[in-house]
């Protein structure tokens, strides 16, 4: 017998979620930016996973290892990068930027690198007074540090010729197959070193320095572009003629982007580490084109729904780009990808994730997708066990898919009658419809803030302990005496008149009058103010036994109940007095006052 699925869609034993992950424009201490000719993309080192960005600065991916947090560059086949607290330079294949191939021990904190100019070597600046503010040369094939001295470095530490102090950005420009010049940026100068790159015969000769404050520099074949902490400056090829200056341009690193055919000609991309953003400028006149980015770790751009199951099991997340992840056995399940409890994509969405559960889908008892831009669930109705859902975003889950749900929080659409089992409601938005009488009779928490449901308060189930229905102008006043376990009732901003407010207040005070233990909670609270009118006769808020005496009522506030031998409130104000003086089960009441108001 063969087994096959009858439908082309997802298996009925799997939950399929479609979503649009937001574009990740968050940066945390971005440092170096370099154009990768091989990728045709920008590489941006970042404290929480480096980015690959398109030439227009838009997000491409952060499917990279976490070993590029301070510097990153590439050549035709490999990526290179270093971490802020580490002393290593890592090499990864462009085809597998997650797992490193080999590593060089630099021996000092890595700052920036140049891997694109010299096919044989990577040049590295470092900042560590203990072992020299050095510049290192690393042979790509062996990842061995080349050069003389102790520690091994190019030239020595110091401020004079043949010395480096606190070098940052650097750029190797080849003049022929075996030699070229290395430009190194320092706080007050740019150093120029002649380099011979022949394997086994490498050498470095100090050429000159230019008194220009520089964090980093770029080269377009004719002009240098120097980035300082405050300016971008376009120089000729010997740093004598500053033809263009872009002021108020904060930058830490700069790179050259060849003409992309987008009308801007050749451009520059600049990292502003201080303010966590990138900027793109024209090479021609240094005018700004666009900027992108703000501070953050980017975790909000991840797709990271978590699941709970009724028994210990494993679930598998399988994504439409081929990535899959199986959770360890347990009852709480979250993604794990490349150091994140979530997943991001190389391309913009929509994307799909198929969830399968070892055992059966019905073992799922909870889905928390509160920060995920979900656009569609398929097979949600197959979760046969009672389950909870936390959802937020553009997609409002149809309530008719949630009939087994007992705990519902987030954005949904549809009629309350579709969810007969929910005990915990936390819904808002105009897409929820229905009558109060449709609310599950076993609900204990009701937070439904929408103007599109209707019905009388008296049709609430008797079970809730929390009821928030404020700002729901389709709801009409009624007795709430049946809410015997109520702890917190918020029905403000309903647009009710004084008689409406009195109706609610008197339903409570009458119930207390008949039985002081009618409401069971020690300190219930009622909020019935804001746009609701004030209760009637707030001047009736007094102790009638003291003011009027036994057997005596008055016109506006109190009747004398001869049977029970106590006064009975007949105005809103006197009802509040009953509620706030019912020792043992004493209410606090917030209502619209009689003015004048502060």
């Amino acid at each position: 017998m063969s087994v096959h699925h009858r439908h082309g869609g997802p298996s009925h034993n799997k939950l399929e979620i479609t979503f649009d992950t937001p574009i990740d424009n968050w940066f945390s201490s971005p440092k170096q930016i370099r154009w990768s000719v091989a990728l045709g993309k920008l590489l941006v080192s970042n404290a929480v996973y480096s980015h690959v960005r398109n030439s227009d600065l838009s997000f491409n991916t952060k499917h990279l290892t976490n070993r590029y947090t301070t510097c990153v560059d590439s050549d035709t086949t490999n990526l290179f990068g270093g971490v802020s607290t580490g002393i290593y330079l890592y090499k990864m294949a462009l085809s597998d930027p997650i797992n490193y191939v080999s590593v060089a021990t630099i021996g000092a904190s890595v700052r920036m690198i140049d891997a694109s100019g010299d096919p044989l070597h990577v040049y590295v600046t470092s900042n560590n007074a203990a072992d020299g503010h050095g510049v290192r040369m690393v042979t790509k094939s062996t990842m061995a540090v080349t050069g003389g001295g102790t520690p091994v470095q190019i030239l020595a530490t110091g401020t004079g010729d043949n010395q480096f102090t606190n070098p940052l950005g650097l750029l190797y420009i080849a003049t022929n197959a075996d030699s070229g010049f290395l430009y190194v940026c320092e706080a007050t100068r740019i150093c120029k070193i002649a380099v011979v790159t022949t394997a086994g015969s490498e050498s470095f000769t100090w050429t000159t320095s230019y008194a220009i404050a520089a964090n980093d520099l770029a080269w377009d074949g004719t002009n240098f572009y120097v980035q300082s902490s405050t300016q971008t400056i376009k120089y000729d090829n010997v740093f004598t003629d500053a033809t263009k200056v872009a002021t108020a341009c904060v930058g830490y690193s700069i790179t050259y982007i060849p003409d992309q055919g987008d009308g801007y000609g050749a451009t520059l991309a600049i990292v502003d580490s201080t303010n966590s953003h990138l900027e793109r400028r024209k090479c021609s006149d240094l005018s700004a084109i666009n900027s992108v980015g703000s501070a953050g770790d980017g975790s909000s751009s991840l797709f990271d729904p978590t699941f709970t199951t009724s028994v210990a099991t494993q679930i598998e997340y399988k994504f439409d780009d081929g990535f899959s992840y199986v959770t360890p056995s347990g009852t709480s399940h979250a993604l794990s990808w490349n150091g994140f409890a979530g997943y991001s994509f190389r391309t913009a969405g929509p994307h799909k994730c198929t969830i399968s559960v070892r055992g059966r889908l019905g073992l799922v008892t909870g889905i928390d997708a509160r920060s995920d831009a979900i656009t569609l669930y398929k097979n949600l109705q197959k979760l046969s066990s009672p389950f909870g859902l936390v959802n937020s975003g553009n997609y409002k889950v149809p309530l008719n898919m949630l009939s087994p749900c007992i705990d519902l929080r987030g954005d949904c659409s549809g009629n309350l009658s579709s969810i007969p089992n929910v005990k915990y409601f936390d819904l808002s938005g105009s897409d929820i419809t229905g009558d109060i009488s449709n609310i599950s009779r076993s609900a204990t928490v009701i937070y439904i803030i929408t103007s599109s449901i209707s019905g009388s308060l008296s049709n609430l189930p008797s079970t809730p302990i929390y009821v928030y229905l404020y700002s729901s102008n389709g709801i009409t006043p009624g007795s709430i005496a049946h809410l015997v376990a109520i702890r917190d009732l918020r029905i403000y901003s309903m647009g009710w008149h004084t008689d409406d407010v009195d109706l609610v207040l008197k339903s409570i005070s009458d119930a207390i009058h008949a039985d002081v233990n009618h409401f069971t909670f020690a300190t219930p609270a009622l909020q019935i103010g804001v746009t609701n009118q004030a209760p009637s006769h707030l001047d009736g808020y007094f102790d009638p036994m003291v003011v009027l005496g036994a057997g005596v009522g008055d016109a506006d506030h109190w009747d004398w109940d001869a049977v029970l031998g106590k006064h009975k409130a007949k105005s809103g104000g006197s009802a509040i007095w009953v509620m706030t003086h019912n020792v043992g089960h004493v209410w606090s009441v917030t209502c619209t006052g009689g003015g004048p108001y502060p």
């Binding site: 936390d426 928490v445 937070y447 929390y466 702890r487 917190d488 403000y492 020690a522 300190t523 609270a525 909020q527 103010g529 804001v530 001047d539 808020y541 007094f542 102790d543 003011v547 509040i576 509620m579 706030t580 003086h581 020792v583 004493v586 209410w587 606090s588 009441v589 917030t590 209502c591 619209t592 006052g593 009689g594 003015g595 108001y597 502060p598």
Partner: protein, 123 residues
């Protein structure tokens, strides 16, 4: 005829044992427990807000809840209950800024716990 005292900013009480600090009203017990010069100073500097709804924190018999009030609302206090209502700015000042990786929610939870209070519900 009324034994209610309209104090200010919409707060009404029947008891002289409460301490009013700006828009914050503290029971004597809570005042003694948490109030200090810094908190009163913060309150005295508060300016009336144009916001229609102001948030505040209520503590009734040690149970904490977050509430909203408008400037036209009055609060009738529960008789015989240790009850305080703390303005949002005073609450934020009292809880303090998160430190390091700590979130405000975590800091708030810790503050509530340190006071021996409990947060009502889970919202």
């Amino acid at each position: 005829m009324s034994d209610a005292i309209k104090l200010a900013k919409g707060l009404v009480t029947t008891r002289p044992t409460v301490v009013l600090c700006g828009e914050t009203l503290l029971s004597k017990k809570v005042y003694d427990q948490i109030c200090d010069a810094k908190m009163i100073e913060a309150s005295s500097k508060m300016k009336p807000t144009e916001a229609k709804i102001q948030r505040a924190v209520r503590v009734a018999n040690g149970i904490v809840s977050f509430v909203e009030m408008s400037k036209t609302d009055v609060l009738y206090l529960p008789f015989g209950v240790d009850f305080s209502q703390i303005s949002e700015s005073d609450w934020l000042a009292k809880v303090g800024e998160p430190v390091g990786e700590e979130t405000f929610d975590e800091r708030q939870q810790a503050f509530i716990k340190s006071m021996g209070w409990k947060l009502d519900g889970d919202r």
